[in-house]
């Protein structure tokens, strides 16, 4: 199973966003400044945008899903239950996963932005997908919910998971790292070898590396374990 970008380019505003590379099973973190091209890449990966140059190949990818950065764009139901049904999800199960038991008959737009995000993610993680593209899944989530979503992501490593995020502290264990530089997607490689070249690495990771300590991965647990290796 593979998603491949072959010399892909697409015009966004005044710049071209370029991407080449292969995404196999595992969690791929895509890092980049605001406006670098993360959301454009997410939309192309999910098949919602067609590149103007190059092509995107999906080998063995039958089912795919995109979680939009702004979940209100993805709403179709008038109640939480309708919304969950639109994903083919089990209503009570998804409500429980979203922490929204008792709100099933409410209008999704009556939820706070963080609650709506969690509902969207609970719907999406209620099913399995060959390719799962998550465009800023942590935006607006509180830290407790971020930790929970990290566990959901880590449980999907047999699928291709593309995770575009600005999150700095609460991250899942990942397999590969990609970074946008001047609107071009660069593969930084696998973990932990990729850390050395990661420009936008979280501050705690940078601090550890500056002390010569390389964590096994980027989750809170990995960073804590690495910090315990500091002797002084």
């Amino acid at each position: 199973m593979e998603l491949a970008f072959d010399q892909v380019a697409i015009r966004r505003g005044s710049s071209d966003i370029r991407a080449s590379g292969h995404f196999g099973p595992g969690v791929h973190l895509v890092s980049g400044r605001v406006g670098a091209g993360k959301s454009t890449l997410a939309a192309m990966a999910a098949g919602l945008l067609i590149p103007t140059e190059g092509r995107i190949r999906r080998e063995g990818v039958i089912t795919s899903m995109l979680s939009f950065q702004f979940p209100e764009w993805q709403l179709t139901g008038n109640t939480l239950r309708e919304e969950i049904r639109s994903y083919g999800g089990e209503e009570d199960d998804v409500l429980a996963r979203a922490g929204l038991v008792g709100r099933g008959d409410d209008d999704p737009l009556s939820l706070s932005r963080g609650e709506l995000k969690k509902l969207n993610l609970a719907c999406i993680f209620g099913k399995t997908w060959d390719l799962l593209v998550l465009d800023e899944p942590f935006g607006a989530l509180d830290c407790i919910r971020k930790r929970e979503v990290c566990r959901w992501i880590e449980a999907r490593r047999s699928s291709i998971v593309i995770l575009c995020t600005h999150e700095q502290h609460i991250l899942p264990r990942i397999d590969a790292l990609w970074e946008f530089q001047d609107h071009q997607l660069i593969s930084r490689g696998t973990i932990p070898g990729a850390f050395a070249d990661w420009n936008l690495a979280p501050t705690a990771l940078k601090a550890l590396i500056s002390r010569g300590i390389i964590p096994a991965n980027i989750s809170e647990r990995d960073l804590r374990e690495a910090a315990c290796r500091i002797q002084d």
């Binding site: 963080g114 509180d142 600005h166 601090a207």
Partner: protein, 230 residues
């Protein structure tokens, strides 16, 4: 001072809360009432019961600036300069005064070079700064920012906060999920289920949170004896 007394509105239930001037950061779990609280402070909602007084005045009687979570989707004009001028034009102020004020605020927020640009061509960070300047142009006593940092990268968020710290508005109130940002505030309000779980200086509010994810990551790094590298 901001005085909140016997407030009930939606999920919010705040018998008494007094906030001194300065940088006030509201944190809490999703659905705890942060945005509702900010909307009440801004006078965009009226409390069903109780009162909110900003320096002794109801929100509707004082000058308040509001920066929305999605500035790019809430601008009214095409050019940055027009957007900045709009609050003053809506007040029918004289033209010379408006252009002077627009220049002054643009300089203060560091966006003078953007005044002739189309808003649609700005980066995410520049759009947020334009929204900040537009909120500042009518010289608010209170500036309210609703998760303005939630869609930008860490470097951009740091730059935005630096600009914010320089603007000299007596009350700056923002809500965020960035706990490090709360740790650097003068006052933190921790809401949970519509109630104030804790409020006061960061040191007080976060003491006892050491084992939870609400503890500021930067403080944890400090305790790990790690230098902070930006």
């Amino acid at each position: 001072m901001i005085h909140v007394t016997d407030l009930r509105f939606g999920i919010l239930d705040i018998p008494s809360l007094i906030l001194p001037a300065g940088h006030i950061v509201v944190i809490g779990p999703n659905g705890s009432g942060k945005t509702t609280f900010l909307r009440l402070l801004a006078g965009m909602e009226e409390p069903v019961q109780g009162s909110i007084l900003l320096e002794g005045k109801a929100p509707g009687e004082t000058r308040i600036g509001w920066v929305h979570e999605f500035p790019g989707q809430n601008s009214l004009f095409i050019r940055v300069g027009e957007e900045l001028a709009s609050p003053l034009r809506f007040h029918h102020l004289p033209c010379e005064g408006i252009s002077r004020k627009v220049k002054e605020i643009a300089e203060q927020v560091g966006i003078s070079h953007l005044l002739d640009r189309d808003l649609a061509t700005l980066s995410g960070g520049e759009q947020v700064l334009t929204a900040l300047a537009t909120a500042m142009v009518s010289m608010p006593r209170t500036l309210i920012l609703d998760e303005w940092d939630s869609h930008v990268d860490a470097l951009t968020a740091g730059m935005l906060q630096e600009q914010l710290s320089r603007i000299g508005v007596p009350f700056v109130v923002q809500c965020t999920q960035n706990i490090d940002l709360a740790a650097a505030a003068d006052t933190v309000v921790f809401l949970s289920g519509g109630r104030v779980k804790a409020s006061g200086p960061p040191g007080e509010v976060f003491s006892g949170c050491e084992d939870s994810c609400w503890y500021p990551p930067a403080w944890r790094c400090r305790e790990w004896n790690l230098p902070l590298i930006r």
